[in-house]
């Protein structure tokens, strides 16, 4: 048995270990006792709050507000459809790529049981369990002999296209309800997922443009990155909210089929645009770091083999560059996920906005300790899973091993 690196064969030795490490001398003994008392008091305080004095009814009565905001109950099937599709795709991808058994995923699902206990009322609990089943179904499908054998590479290509297609699919499906009604965890996740996936390609382009030898492109990219990085996100959000309508007018403006301004629908899109602009500039600098880590000889060798610019970037430079910066990228993604809570200043009801609304309800005035603790738990679960996923990807790609 090993505890924090110390060998502890049996209880007698454990006591000796404690005496040598925790109680050697009066100063260390006093320190140990003092810390135990301090930790005990803190644990008692937290435990007393969580199990005795907290009124969790503030959370349970507002389950819907926390998770989907004002999204109508009758239309919630849209969200479930998206969750099921993504869960199925996730299971399939796990089977196609991961070298690790799905036990880890199941472990993660079990870790979320406390949240589901809060959520447990009839159909929601059943539908949540169903999404786990969809994940399992996708996994089983990916593990069928044909897909894990002969057609594995084809299946992987198809899966990548499905992932890309799932984004517009999700948006269109969710958009059956006006975006102004999106809220809670749903809005937080929409802003995060779409913010990351739209900003990432722009970030790569900006990084490549900054490394370009063509002055116009380089200056544009440097200017964009430096200007955006010099402005706080909250300012960009305010500008998207106040300046866009003044510049374009309050009427609806449609860009690529998505309304970007207009009184009725556009606050979420405008916030998303602000987040994308902000994140792209930061991602560009991270990617540039990766580009600089790729030895020049790689490009020269590729050129010598007669590859064109796009092939050099796509097959030689970018894979190495991005692999080198995965930890920094995921760190940026996690911080973007938490930064989405700033849309509160636009009076959007994201997870934090929901908490603020709950502590203003006449029945739950001032119950913000409960609501903040609850959303902190949700934020942590999501951020922790993002971090785990990045470690998994690093392991699969063998970062640090080659």
């Amino acid at each position: 048995m090993t505890v924090a690196g110390f060998q502890i064969p049996d209880r007698r030795v454990a006591w000796r270990w404690a005496r040598e490490n925790l109680f050697d001398g009066s100063w260390n003994t006093a320190l140990t006792v003092g810390m135990v008392v301090l930790i005990g008091v803190a644990l008692y305080g937290v435990g007393n709050f969580v199990f005795a004095s907290a009124e969790w009814e503030a959370i349970t009565a507002n389950r819907k507000l926390f998770f989907i905001g004002a999204y109508p109950r009758d239309e919630a099937w849209r969200i479930w459809a998206v969750i099921y599709v993504l869960a199925g795709l996730g299971g399939l991808s796990w089977a196609l790529w991961s070298r690790i058994s799905p036990l880890l995923a199941i472990g993660g699902a079990i870790a979320m049981i406390p949240v589901f206990v809060f959520m447990a009322h009839g159909e929601v609990a059943l539908l949540t369990l169903g999404s786990l089943a969809a994940f399992g179904g996708g996994y089983a499908f990916g593990k069928t002999p044909a897909l894990s054998g002969r057609y594995r590479n084809t299946a992987r290509t198809v899966a990548v296209f499905l992932w890309i297609a799932s984004l517009p699919f999700s948006w269109v499906l969710l958009d059956g309800v006006p975006t102004r009604l999106w809220g809670g965890l749903l809005l937080t996740m929409v802003l995060t997922v779409f913010g990351i996936t739209i900003a990432f390609p722009f970030g790569v382009l900006l990084a490549l443009g900054r490394a370009s030898t063509f002055p116009v492109i380089r200056l544009f990219c440097v200017g964009f990155i430096e200007i955006v990085r010099g402005v706080p996100l909250i300012t960009i959000l305010f500008m998207a909210f106040f300046l866009l309508p003044l510049a374009i007018g309050p009427e609806r403006t449609i860009l690529f089929g998505i309304p970007v301004t207009g009184v009725d629908t556009a606050t979420v899109q405008r916030a998303l645009a602000g987040i994308v602009i902000f994140a792209a500039a930061y991602l560009a600098e991270i990617v540039r770091g990766g580009l600089q880590a790729v030895p020049r000889g790689q490009t020269e060798a590729a050129k010598a083999l007669g590859l064109n610019t796009f092939h050099i970037l796509g097959f030689i430079v970018l894979p190495q560059a991005l692999r080198a910066v995965i930890p920094a990228l995921v760190g940026q993604f996690i911080s973007l996920f938490k930064d989405t809570s700033l849309v509160l200043v636009l009076a959007l009801t994201d997870l934090l906005g929901a908490a603020r609304q709950v502590s203003a309800q006449p029945d739950f005035i001032g119950r913000q300790a409960e609501t903040l603790l609850f959303i902190a738990l949700i934020y942590w679960i999501v951020a922790f899973n993002m971090s785990r996923a990045s470690q998994q990807i690093e392991k699969n790609l063998g970062v640090g091993e080659r």
Partner: protein, 371 residues
């Protein structure tokens, strides 16, 4: 050599041009739509049909109403239905009923204190009903118009009962908790120049500090103090551990706000509010409005409800909405008293004897004649 640069830069330019074209091309209904400011000539002449916010709202079939989502009693989100609810929200419904005849034809836009006035100025909301105080600079300088006040609030001071303070002057040199960046902070310095303000960003942190006795007094709008008092935690002594002192040392008349220069729209908002007050004065409620429609016992009730009195003509005030618009309003949200009782009484603010009582009962809630 040059060729290496030309192709990527041409691609780049094409992409940029494409995006710009797409942005402009999508803007297909920008022309031909009336903007809110091109209506009326400032003399109060009703706008022609097809112009102004009335036409916009009728076309859209929905009222866009700027509200608060975190003030108990006035505007908050109901946990059961997760819908906006409260005193201010009921007035959004009243206007929607007046114009569109449907209380649910409202889009609520929650607005922060900073965002609320620009939202009216830029036309993002048709009307703002979000506990906004009427002041001369907001009315004159900001391109906004304030309709009849729906709630007369005022700044008060709350203390712990055990401390034995009886008047505001007792706290001349005390530490007083306030909210950051509000007029209450400025009013406090006017009233008690020697006191020490302790500002907080929101009421929840302020309450925590007050319980820890970091300040002797707590100043805010009296409606908010009452809401906080009624929900004061039992662990800190419950509501009876607090006293709101009698003196009110600022005036905060709260009412709907519309954009300047759209007098027709302003009149509709204004007279919808007045209609709910008159209905209370005349004893017309959501329960008995149909009886009054069948038998309007006096001429003013007949004019108000847009029905004929003893065979006479139906009175049309020329607001631009059907003369019987108040029927829907009263049936849907009730009169002023009903709206008050449904939303504000539950947070512990009694109405009798305050400025928010009807004028015939000694308050300020007063309706001009309906003729």
């Amino acid at each position: 050599m040059l060729k290496r640069y030309i192709i990527p830069s041409a691609l780049w330019l094409m992409a940029t041009i494409f995006i710009v074209i797409a942005a402009c091309g999508g803007d297909d209904d920008a022309d031909g739509t009336a903007t809110p400011t091109d209506t009326g000539d400032g003399t109060g002449t009703p706008a022609q049909t097809g112009e102004g916010l009335l036409a916009t709202v009728l076309d859209r079939g929905e009222l866009i109403c700027g509200v608060n989502d975190s003030v108990p009693g006035f505007g908050f989100v109901d946990p059961d239905t997760s819908e906006n609810t409260g005193f201010d929200v009921d007035y959004c419904k009243a206007i929607a009923l007046a114009v569109l005849g449907d209380a649910d034809a409202v889009q609520y836009v929650p607005l922060t204190a900073d965002a609320r006035l620009p939202a009216v100025q830029t036309g993002q909301v048709d009307v703002l009903i979000r506990n906004t105080t009427m002041t001369v600079s907001r009315d004159a300088g900001s391109g906004l118009s304030f309709a009849t006040t729906t709630y007369y609030d005022g700044q008060g001071l709350m203390v712990r009962a055990a401390d034995g303070y009886t008047s505001i002057d007792d706290l001349a040199t005390a530490t007083i908790c306030t909210l950051q960046g509000t007029t209450t902070e400025l009013n406090l310095t006017d009233r008690l120049p020697d006191s020490e303000p302790l500002p907080f960003v929101d009421n929840d942190t302020l309450q925590a500090a007050f319980i820890e006795e970091r300040c002797d007094g707590w100043t805010s709008d009296r409606s908010q103090l009452a809401a906080r008092q009624s929900a004061y935690p039992e662990s800190a002594g419950g509501p009876s551990a607090l006293v709101v002192l009698d003196e009110v040392f600022s005036k905060e008349p709260l009412g709907p706000v519309t954009i300047d220069n759209d007098s027709q729209w302003f009149d509709i908002v204004n007279w919808t509010v007045i209609g709910t007050i008159l209905a209370e004065e005349r004893g017309v409620t959501s329960a008995n409005v149909d009886d009054f429609i069948a038998d309007p016992v006096n001429p003013e009730i007949a004019r108000m409800l847009g029905v004929s009195f003893e065979g006479g003509d139906i009175f049309d005030a020329g607001l631009g909405v059907p003369p019987d618009f108040l029927q829907d309003v009263i049936r849907g949200v009730g009169n002023y008293g009903e709206i008050y009782e449904r939303n504000i009484t539950p947070i512990g603010l009694e109405r009798a004897g305050t400025v928010n009582a009807l004028w015939i009962e000694g308050g300020l809630i007063y309706s001009p004649p309906w003729r």
